[in-house]
Symmetry: C2
Subunit: 164 residues, 2 copies
């Protein structure tokens, strides 16, 4: 994964402190309530761990850190991840087999569905940035083939500003 490099990886652009995490959890609870969904303990714990991380987090890292003592069972966490993704609270990064909290700006949780997003993934420090893109050119290209797009995965790997 990470190339050898000597600069620090502490440029935590998206790092949230305990207050930040709690604020985001509160938003998430509100969102669930508004949607008639339940923010249960395992779901919240899973989201908390992902929010506390400043980079995409592996499912088994969530599993390992789920309980103060000992790990959770995989289905517990995978079910929570599925729910959170459905709610648009996290995204799955396919090329990393990992999950990251939604940093989306545009949709503002008016459409709390699994939405398409684009990610810049630093191969050096591991951090990700969610960016909004005009995906119209993809839709047009697809339409030219008669293809109806439902969801787009766009993951750009490279080096972030701090790692170049």
């Amino acid at each position: 994964m990470s190339t050898a490099c000597d600069h620090d990886h502490d440029h935590h652009d998206h790092h949230l402190d305990a207050h930040g995490v709690e604020a985001r959890l509160a938003e998430a609870r509100k969102l669930c309530e508004a949607q008639g969904e339940r923010m249960t303990a395992p779901r919240q714990r899973t989201l908390e761990l992902i929010l506390s991380q400043n980079a995409p987090m592996k499912a088994y890292d969530v599993i390992d850190r789920f309980h103060p003592d000992g790990a959770a069972k995989p289905p517990t966490v995978y079910r929570a991840l599925g729910f959170l993704e459905q709610m648009g609270l996290i995204h799955r990064i396919e090329s990393l087999n990992a999950f990251v909290a939604c940093q989306g700006h545009e949709h503002d949780h008016d459409h709390p569905e699994p939405h398409s997003a684009a990610f810049l993934l630093c191969e050096c420090c591991g951090q990700s940035e969610e960016v909004m893109l005009d995906l119209g050119s993809i839709d047009r290209k697809a339409a030219a083939s008669g293809f109806k797009v439902r969801r787009i995965t766009l993951e750009a790997k490279g080096l972030c500003k701090a790692c170049q």
Copy 2:
């Protein structure tokens, strides 16, 4: 993966018959020779299986079908897949954990390196179409963050013309 549906999935746009496969293998051999690389037996067998498939193929399907009798060992196939991807002969589809032969038009194997491509993936029939996209808007967006893009994964899921 596939949604229940009643239409046929035999619209094999990219299906190659035995002759087509052999022609593509010949091209691949030529490409390897030009690059000073060796198209060895396991590499060619792996490429042959992927070319013969009309949709992205799982690594373990290659493994299972590698020998007429019995399976190959995983490292044999994963190494071949890695080589073929390096040579730009196949692409890995991250969201499917699968591999598909390169259908790229534009680069014409002048740059037989692992190149970025975009894919339309039908969730009904499983077929894929490789499309060329202008990825400039992504580069621009990334540049605005100081991010240097090295490689892009773009996978659009939806329904192909025949499956709508």
